[in-house]
C-alpha cells in the first residue's frame, strides 16, 4: 500500500459562497499587471506630476517669496487634467487585453462554466482597470491634499475649500468609469488587444479632432458633445466650480458621459457570452 495515494482525492474543505469570484478575477488581474516592469515604469511616471505638485506645495508653504505658488481649488482640477494623459496610456496598456485575450484563448467558456455570472466576470475585469486608474487619479489627488495640510501645518486650506473632497472623488470616478467601461466594451469586440488599443486611441483622437474641426468651421463650442473627452472636461469645470470652457449645456455633457457608459454596458451584455452564435 502506498504511503500517500497520489491519485484523485475528494475535496472536503470549505467553499466560498457564490458572488465572490469577481474578487478572484480582480486580484489575479492586478497581480499580473504589477508583475510587469514596463507597467511599473508607467505607474512611476504617472506619479511624477504628483511629485512636482508636492514640491510646489512645499515651496509655497515655506518660502514667502513663492506665495504665488500657493495651491487653489483650480490646482487640483489642473492636476487631474494632467493625469488624463496617464489615464489614457494605462487604459490602453491594461484594458485592451482584458477581455480580448480571453476571447482569443476561448477562456470565456471556462470562466462562465464556473459559478459566476457574466456580470461578475465583467465586474472582476473592470475592477482591475478601475483600481489601477484610481491609483493615478483619485489617490494622488487626495494625497496632494494631505501633503498640503502637512506642509502648511493647518487645516485652513481644506476648511476653506471643503468642496474639493467630493469634487475630486466625483470627477475621478467619472474619469475612470468612462475610460474603463469604454475600453472594456471595445475589448469585448475583438480578439486582438493591439487592435483594441488602436480602436480606443482612434475613438479619443478622432472625436476630439472632429470637435475641434467643426468648432473651427462654425465657431460653436456647444458641439463639444461630439467628443466624450471634452464633454468630461466641461463636467470637470462644473464640478470644481470653475468657469465653463464650452457653451455645451451641463445636461448634454452628463448625457454624453452617461450615454457612453450605458452603451458600453449594452455592448458588454451582448458580447460577453460563453457561446458565440453566428447566425
Amino acid at each position: 500500500m502506498p504511503i500517500h495515494d497520489q491519485g484523485y482525492q475528494r475535496y472536503v474543505g470549505d467553499r466560498a459562497r457564490t458572488g465572490a469570484a469577481w474578487q478572484v478575477i480582480a486580484r489575479a488581474g492586478i497581480r499580473t499587471v504589477l508583475a510587469e516592469r514596463r507597467f511599473l515604469a508607467l505607474l512611476l511616471l504617472a506619479w511624477a506630476p504628483f511629485l512636482v505638485r508636492a514640491v510646489q506645495v512645499y515651496v509655497a508653504a515655506n518660502y514667502s517669496q513663492a506665495s504665488f505658488l500657493q495651491p487653489k481649488g483650480e490646482t487640483f482640477r489642473e492636476f487631474l487634467e494632467t493625469q488624463a494623459v496617464f489615464v489614457f496610456f494605462i487604459t490602453i496598456y491594461v484594458g485592451a487585453g482584458l477581455i480580448a485575450s480571453d476571447r482569443r484563448a476561448n477562456a470565456l467558456q471556462l470562466y462562465l462554466a464556473k459559478p459566476l455570472s457574466r456580470w461578475e466576470y465583467v465586474a472582476g475585469k473592470m475592477a482591475v482597470l478601475l483600481t489601477l486608474l484610481v491609483s493615478v487619479t483619485f489617490l494622488p489627488a487626495m494625497m496632494l491634499l494631505v501633503v498640503q495640510i502637512g506642509f502648511a501645518g493647518s487645516f485652513t486650506f481644506i476648511a476653506n475649500n471643503i468642496y474639493l473632497l467630493p469634487a475630486i472623488t466625483l470627477y475621478s470616478l467619472l474619469q475612470v468609469l468612462l475610460a474603463s467601461s469604454t475600453m472594456l466594451a471595445l475589448s469585448s469586440l475583438s480578439k486582438s488587444s493591439r487592435f483594441v488599443g488602436v480602436m480606443y486611441a482612434g475613438l479619443i483622437f478622432f472625436t476630439g479632432a472632429l470637435f475641434q474641426a467643426v468648432r473651427g468651421i462654425t465657431g460653436q463650442s456647444w458641439l463639444a458633445w461630439l467628443s466624450p473627452t471634452d464633454a468630461l472636461e466641461q463636467l470637470g469645470d462644473a464640478i470644481f466650480r470653475l468657469p465653463l470652457r464650452y457653451d455645451l449645456p451641463l445636461w448634454a455633457a452628463v448625457g454624453v458621459v452617461v450615454g457612453l457608459i450605458v452603451a458600453s454596458g449594452v455592448v458588454l451584455e451582448r458580447r460577453v457570452r460563453a457561446v458565440e452564435v453566428v447566425s
Binding site: G7, Y8, Y11, G13, A107, L112, L116, S279
Partner: protein, 320 residues
C-alpha cells in the same frame, strides 16, 4: 467492469435517481434547430453522449450549463432546475470544453489553482488541489510551464485538470480525446474510466468515437439530427441477442448485400467488401452459407464478432 462507487453529491436525491434530466427541450440557433424536443435521463455513473458531428451533443451540454437558453422544455441537473439555479449547478459541475481553452499568460499550476478559486476554493486549498490534480492527469512534471507552450495532448489534459480541481459531483467532457495520439488517448480514457468507476464522479462523455464510449461508459444516449435516437444501458442498447458476422464474398458483394437485405437480415457497414451481418437468435452462420450457395456466391471470409455499439449506433440513426 467494476461497479460504480456511490456518488457523494449531497443533493439528497434518491439513490439511482437521474443526475441530469431533460424534458421536451428545444434549442434554436437563428433558423437552425439544434435540439428538437429532447427528453432524456442520465443515470448516475458514466454516460456516453454519442452521435455524429452536428447531432446536438455539445449544444445539449451548453444548454445544461446555462450557456444557451432553450426555446422550450425543462432541464434539471443534480436535482436543481437549470433555469433558476444555474450558478448552484455550476458550483458542482466540471466542464471540459471541446475547443482549446485556457486563461492566457499563466503557468499550468497557476491556471488550475485560479480555476479552483473561481469555483470557490480558498487560495491555499486551490493551489494544493492544483498540484494534486496535475499529477493525476499526468502533467506533474510540466506544471510550471506556460499553458500556451503545451502540445495538443497536454492541452486536453489540462482542460480535464481545470474541470476537476474543485472536485465536482458531475463532469461534462466534450470530445475528451480530440487531437490526442493513440498512447495519450488510451491514458485519457483510463483516467475517465477511473474517475467514473473508482472515484465516484458522475460524468457525461460527449463523443463521436464509439470505442471511447464503449470503454468508459455504462450507459449511452445516441443522438442524431438534434434528437435522441436511442438511450439505455450499454448492453441493452447493443441490441437483441444474436451474432454478428463479418462477411466477404468473391465478386458479388453488392448482390450478397441485396440478398441478405431481401431475406430480412440487418446488414451494416459495407467497407472494402466486408459487411457486418446480424443474425438473430442462435441460428449461427448456416443461413448465410445457404443463401450464398443457393445464389452461386463464394464466401471468402466469415468471422463471428460480438454486436458492438457501432451496430447499435448504425441501427439507431438508420445508417447503412
Amino acid at each position: 467492469m467494476q461497479a460504480p462507487v456511490p456518488s457523494h453529491d449531497g443533493s439528497g436525491r434518491p439513490d439511482g435517481a437521474a443526475v441530469v434530466e431533460l424534458r421536451g427541450v428545444s434549442v434554436i440557433y437563428g433558423r437552425q434547430m439544434a435540439l428538437r424536443e429532447v427528453s432524456a435521463a442520465f443515470p448516475p455513473g458514466a454516460v456516453g453522449l454519442l452521435g455524429p458531428n452536428g447531432a446536438g451533443k455539445s449544444t445539449m451540454l451548453k444548454a445544461l450549463l446555462g450557456f444557451v437558453v432553450p426555446s422550450q422544455g425543462e432541464m434539471r441537473v443534480l436535482g436543481l432546475d437549470v433555469a433558476t439555479s444555474a450558478l448552484d449547478i455550476r458550483a458542482r459541475l466540471g466542464y471540459m470544453p471541446e475547443s482549446d481553452a485556457h486563461i492566457p499568460g499563466m503557468s499550468a499550476v497557476a491556471f488550475v489553482a485560479y480555476c479552483g478559486q473561481l469555483a470557490g476554493l480558498p487560495p491555499a486549498d486551490a493551489m494544493q488541489r492544483a498540484h494534486e490534480v496535475l499529477y493525476y492527469v499526468g502533467l506533474g512534471e510540466a506544471r510550471y510551464r506556460n499553458v500556451e507552450t503545451y502540445s495538443t495532448g497536454m492541452k486536453q489534459r489540462i482542460k480535464l485538470a481545470q474541470a476537476l480541481v474543485h472536485d465536482p459531483d458531475l463532469l461534462f467532457l466534450d470530445e475528451p480525446t480530440n487531437g490526442m495520439d493513440p498512447k495519450g488517448r488510451d491514458e485519457m480514457l483510463e483516467l475517465i474510466r477511473d474517475l467514473a468507476h473508482n472515484k465516484g464522479v458522475n460524468l457525461i462523455v460527449s463523443s463521436h468515437l464509439l470505442p471511447d464510449i464503449e470503454f468508459t461508459c455504462d450507459h449511452v444516449i445516441v443522438m442524431d439530427k438534434g434528437a435522441v435516437a436511442t438511450q439505455g444501458a450499454l448492453d441493452a442498447v447493443r441490441g437483441p441477442q444474436g451474432r454478428v458476422f463479418e462477411l466477404r464474398v468473391k465478386d458479388g458483394a453488392e448482390r450478397m448485400l441485396e440478398l441478405l437485405t431481401a431475406a430480412g437480415y440487418e446488414v451494416h457497414d459495407s467497407q472494402e467488401d466486408v459487411m457486418r451481418v446480424f443474425v438473430p437468435g442462435e441460428a449461427g452462420a448456416e443461413p448465410i452459407f445457404r443463401l450464398a450457395a443457393a445464389n452461386g456466391l463464394q464466401v471468402r471470409h466469415l468471422k463471428q464478432s460480438v454486436p458492438t455499439l457501432e451496430d447499435a449506433f448504425a441501427r439507431a440513426v438508420g445508417a447503412e
